[in-house]
Amino acid sequence: MRLMKYVGLAVVATLMLLALVPACAPTPKVAEPVKIGALLSYTGPAAGAGQLHEMAIELRLDDAGWEVAGRKIELIKEDTEGKADVGLDKTRKLVERDQVDVVLGPLQSDVAFAVGSFLAPRGVPNIAYLVHSGFLLEYETVFLTLGEDKGQVIGFGHYLSHVLGYKTISFTGPDFIASYELSKGVMMGFEGTVVKEAWFPFGTMDFAPFFTAAGKPDVLWSFFTSPPDALRFIDQYREFGIKTPLVITHIESAEPILPALGDKSLGIIGQTPYTWRIDSDINRRFVQAFENKYGNKPTAFEASAYIATSVFLEAVKATGGDTTPEKIIEALKNISMDTIAGPLHFENRSGVVPTYVVETAKLAEGVYAFEIIDSYITRIPEE
């Protein structure tokens, strides 16, 4: 009996030792899938954007056959709920539990700061979807795909004073860092004076009190962080018959709200990093593929996530499939590629890419779109 007990213990001990063996053997990194972590806003103030980003990322991965440089791709999606603390928790999970090779997003600047501060010391590459404040670049693994706030709009400010001839300007938008940065960027290109800055608090639903607060400038520049805000503001602006021309930096307020506005949207000049009307082969193919898969035209939201994914895949191709963080970051810094928004490369991890001046036009009954009237390149602002 005693003998059986000892034999049994020996068998168990051997099995346990054998179980440890695979963990000790070095697993070749090449056989493992490339893991992409995507931070998406399914709920929260930008609810709806998450779905759009997901659609675009999955389309890009479909195009690539869900593999790159001989390795399979795995996509892990997490909801930031539009909150910095939740975004940070989800990022921690993506890095520590899922061990992703890159984090895409998030959409909101405040969440991006929390996420960037976590990823940079751990060396994990972080590719943003849209523009953000240049301050985010102090986190050494952040790449601002479509440029930074100030640099996006210097050309637009220049257009307002040199092409449209405006001499005085007022600013409105949510009381938020993106608004301050963008307005400073506009002033770097605009030659004239500022009449008023009329920032409204987040959650404002009735903008009427702010129309008079903006004073009487030649032009009112505006920016919105969510489509419902843009929709309400423009609709109310038109209802009140305000005569001051309104221009919009359309980073997060996109073309799909135009049908809801109808004729009220006509004649508004704006600036956007992407519109489906960009006339290039690569974009035409993208718009066609997007429409075939999802039934509607893509906007700047979807395009930005598509480009961010493309940029990462390009970097992995450049390293020959090596996803060690330092190699990826080096590859990203040296990228030069054609994208649906135009040719893109990074300078100091800030995207240098064309951006477009647009005017809202009516293509047919009930069909509204942006007409491209000019374009310029995003700049790296000199501080």
């Binding site: 709920t43 103030p45 609810a47 709806g48 954007a49 779905q51 759009l52 009381d175 009329a198 920032w199 409204f200 608090p201 987040f202 959650g203 404002t204 639903m205 009735d206 009427a208 009190p209 702010f210 008079t212 607060a213 969510s226 489509p227 419902p228 929709l231 309400r232 609709d235 109310q236 209802e239 009140f240 018959g241 799909p256 709200i257 809801a260 506005l261």
Partner: protein
């Protein structure tokens, strides 16, 4: 001077939309003791359904009825399925109704997609009138009138009808009322439906100014709660006073001190609660 008049009218129009939003919540809370956090979600259902029906060419008032009925029906279903099992269980009600916000918002996202919609005023109420060198939209004036008409109807019902008297009696002393042979269960159900119906109606009436948007579940709820807390629970007058107070203070606050905009209504709420904990016209609820 013109700016003052415009701000006053703006404040009143927003205030009356807030009254419509808060009235339903206040009645349900006062009569049934149910804290329905999904109130904003029902507002949203009314807005989306109404705007869609109007978009198909229906008459404005028909679309309003459609929106309100849709909200009311969803409310009735949730009442029959869930609320009747949670009488007096406040924690469970809070959890349930909060969960309902997410469910209803996701269903709305599923059916209507992520982009917001704008309502349109009926032709006779569109256009604007000049006040000095500012044009003021006619529809906002119409909202003030519509809100006041509904307030008067609800007040009349509450104070001058037998059913209203029964409801008020039940709010003060439920045991006694049922002891007198009143089928309070039926009345409660009817009040619940009406409260949600009004919320859905408010959603559609507010749509030409505020739009139909997915965030309404939380954003509108916050405003409704402030209106009920400031005005006092359980009465039409309370919701009216609360709504107008908040509407005026919010509008003037933003016009005069835009930087303080996020803070003004909460500051007012705190001050009012310090002096009148049950709200301006609140009844003490057991």
């Amino acid at each position: 001077m013109d700016a003052w008049i415009v701000n006053l009218l703006n404040g009143l129009s927003i205030g009356l939309i807030l009254f419509l939003i808060g009235a339903g919540l206040s009645l349900i809370l006062g009569v049934m003791g149910i804290l329905n956090l999904a109130h904003g979600a029902f507002y949203m259902v009314g807005a989306y359904v109404g705007v869609t029906v109007a978009g198909e060419g229906a008459n404005f008032w028909l679309a309003a009825l459609a929106g309100a009925m849709a909200a009311g029906l969803v409310g009735l279903i949730t009442e029959r399925l869930f609320f009747r099992h949670l009488y007096k269980q406040l924690n469970e009600q809070v959890l349930l109704t909060f969960g309902l916000i997410y469910i209803i918002t996701n269903l709305t996202l599923w059916i209507w997609g992520p982009w917001p919609k704008m309502g349109t005023p009926p032709p006779i109420l569109s256009g604007s009138i000049g006040i000095g060198d500012i044009s003021f939209p006619v529809y906002r004036l119409a909202v003030i009138v519509i809100g006041l008409v509904i307030a008067i109807c609800l007040w009349w019902f509450q104070e001058k009808t037998r059913v209203g008297a029964i409801i008020r009696a039940g709010m003060d002393d439920k045991e006694m009322t049922t002891g007198l042979g009143v089928n309070y269960g039926l009345i409660s159900g009817a009040v619940f439906f009406s409260g949600i119906f009004i919320a859905g109606f408010a959603g559609f009436i507010g749509a030409p100014i505020l739009g139909a948007f997915l965030g309404a579940g939380i954003d509108i709820l916050l405003l409704a709660l402030i209106v009920v807390v400031v005005g006092g629970m359980g009465s039409v007058q309370g919701a009216l006073v609360g709504g107008i107070t908040i509407g005026l203070i919010d509008t003037f606050g933003k016009a005069i001190y835009p930087g303080m905009g996020m803070f003004t209504i909460y500051l007012v709420m705190i001050i009012i609660l310090l002096f009148r904990p049950s709200g301006l016209l609140g009844r003490k609820v057991t």
